[in-house]
Homo-oligomer: 406 residues x 2
């Protein structure tokens, strides 16, 4: 069995890197704080005798050789980057649990048939450079690499510059290699497992989503002198689009998701009618068809609002992903492991995007969820109990071993 | 007569300090760029033999002695600070026209009966520290000085620190001194004079206004996993309040003004439901009673919206000013000067706030407006013609001389 206390201690040690006063974590991708997290992770891996390689997007792979040189590796991992005001477990749980798995194998002197690789993906969160699952997305060929390296954060720093600045632009090829399977343990980030008292979520896939970059162009003008009829208020238009996104979400009931999380206002001065805004829009739904309908409806209705406000709306799709089902064989290994260990389980579709989604395009994939307090994530108060982490790690251990030794 | 070409050349020289690529000006108050503008202004004044003093808020007073030691000074001026993406003339016109007035007197060897003082007020715009007319407001006793000096910009720099950093915390007392009158020349910043073909606006007063600081507190949560019923979206609530402000404005017809110009979103990440926003709200109207009604209605209706969204709204009044009429005697001097010079005029109520509003609480005050292209201000494209500047300056010259020699 894995060591629950050691797992928890390492989770807490990682949580100190970028710890916030409110008990959360701020470890934005490719920052100096991320570098410290990566360095710690690399040091832990090397202490176990794992060989660490880094690809051109900064994705990190820590390899443990198997007995059979002809077997393809079994992969597992997650991400160490966080939201600006994120929690201790979103991403870190899957990476540190993978480390605990490696440590346990070393302790027990087990050599698996297939090699094992533990992965830390770059920029899963997407909050710095605007695209979630960036590292796994480029690796999987979903996002072309050169434009992604040239993408800038709000301060104008490119992904490439940020990689170089922290010394994590590696020379391993940034592309899928032959592998036998990929497993990812993650907190659910939603309320379902907790509400139903299930220790383990057997994740059957991830829901469909579409993300947009929006820009509204009106005209800066004096707030005190410009009469209603002469206003071309970019923020007013944006406000109405935010309300539209909410109404479109609610029209889909409790399965609907529609969010504007990012908004920049220009010139952002109290007595100036805003002449420009930039903002994000995203919709998610378990049904691909529903996302197709939202994707047809939203640009049209947002366009009507812009016309009414006398402003110009520019809308670009950042990405659109259908419902992504995971590999039935791998999902079954998770189901069997949890059953063997006696944990109450539930099949679940992931509400969040995960690196597993892009990995699953070329490699048989499954995910394991554990509950989190009040379903809260992307929040500094995100919280799980040590026994929940241990259960998830134990299931990961068993599923990976079953696959590697089959 | 004043020298229209010299006036224009100095306006253009000042516009180079903080010039933006789009032809506007970014000379935010108490920044390094503002310091360069102030240094230039001081050098120009001292070259004329004027004595410059600076008070504890950085307000600058350039004095020219009169013939009669018992006469109180006649004051005039405006401000050299600008919006983040402002124009060349908002504020600068009144200061540089005052300088041209002084230069003309020197050229003609005229000594007025009363002394003259040309003023550059600190932070008229209010976009950096959140309160417009800051320098004149503290000077006039409308804002208490110590809390104002401790007020921070979005980067956490206080007014006091900013004054020290640019070397403009002076030792002259920051309070009204006995003075005979105050005149301020400014561009209209609205469309009325241009539309009616009037060269000069005889400003009879400034409209009523109320400004608020608002903060909405909801809960950060994951955009992909948090169902509609569990959301406490601070930005959604803010969007609905922005729409409310617009509806309340439009319900007052073409005289209504209601604007949200500033908005900050936290944590401002695409896949996080925003847990907090901070924003500004302002209403203006020529009628004090209408502002009283808006001030009663807005907090109540915004509160209903917050309750519906499951979030908390904090609302603080930044200031509330009634319609401020100017001094009939000073206004008449402007009217007579313009008539003597043969300019078509129109009585007008200022839509914008001006330092003249606070000065007029203790000193007889009037303002002169000149048209601006398309009524556009607080915009880099703000534009006036040289003959419009010259006309305004000439009226200022005549009104000030009439008062100083009466
Ligand atoms: N797991 C997670 O929070 N991923 C961020 C990408 C998303 O928004 O779903
Ligand atoms: N004149 C001017 O633009 N003043 C700024 C204060 C206001 O918002 O009216």
């Amino acid at each position: 069995r894995i060591d629950g206390k050691r797992l928890w201690d390492s989770l807490m040690a990682m949580a100190e890197i970028g710890a916030t006063p409110k008990g959360g974590v701020r470890r934005l991708t490719l920052t100096e704080v991320d570098r410290r997290g990566r360095d710690q992770f690399r040091a832990w891996c090397e202490a176990l005798g794992l060989k660490v390689r880094v690809d051109g997007m900064g994705n990190m792979f820590a390899r443990r050789e198997g007995r059979d040189p002809d077997r393809l590796p079994v992969l597992f991992g997650s991400h160490l980057d966080s939201q600006p005001t994120g929690g201790k477990f979103d991403g870190a749980l899957g990476v540190i649990a993978g480390l605990e798995l490696m440590r346990t194998l070393n302790d027990l002197g087990i050599v698996t048939e297939a090699p094992l690789e533990l992965i830390n993906w770059t920029d899963e969160e997407g909050s710095r450079f605007g695209r979630s699952l960036m590292g796994s997305g480029v690796w999987a060929g979903e996002y072309p690499m050169e434009p992604m390296l040239a993408t800038k954060d709000v301060d104008g720093i490119t992904v490439g510059e940020a990689l170089d600045a922290i010394g994590y632009r590696g020379d391993a090829p940034t592309e899928p290699f032959p592998a036998d399977a990929y497993f990812e343990l993650h907190i659910e980030q939603g309320p379902i497992l907790e509400r139903e008292g299930k220790a383990i979520g057997v994740v059957t896939g991830a829901q469909a989503q579409v993300w947009y970059d929006a820009r509204v162009i009106g005209q800066d003008a004096h707030a005190g002198t410009t009469p209603p009829s002469a206003r071309r208020d970019a923020l007013l238009c944006t406000a109405r689009i935010i309300d539209l996104v909410d109404r479109m979400m609610r029209a889909r009931g409790e399965d609907g998701r529609g969010t504007v999380g990012f908004l920049q206002v220009l010139p952002n001065s109290r007595n100036v009618i805003p002449g420009e805004t930039r903002f994000s829009v995203e919709f998610r739904h378990p049904s691909t068809e529903e996302i197709d309908r939202l994707d047809a409806q939203f640009p049209r209705e947002a366009g009507f609002i812009a016309r009414d406000c006398g402003v110009t709306l520019e809308l670009a799709t950042v990405f659109k992903n259908p419902l992504q089902p995971f590999d039935p064989g791998c999902v079954d290994l998770v189901r069997q492991a949890a059953a063997r260990l006696g944990y109450p389980t539930r099949e679940i579709v992931s509400g969040a995007g995960h690196d597993a989604v892009y990995v699953s395009k070329s490699i048989p994939t499954a995910m394991i969820f554990t509950p989190c307090k009040d379903g809260l994530s992307h929040n500094e108060a995100e919280s799980i109990r040590p026994e929940e982490a241990e259960a998830g790690c134990q299931v990961l251990f068993e599923a990976v071993l079953a696959r590697a030794n089959r």
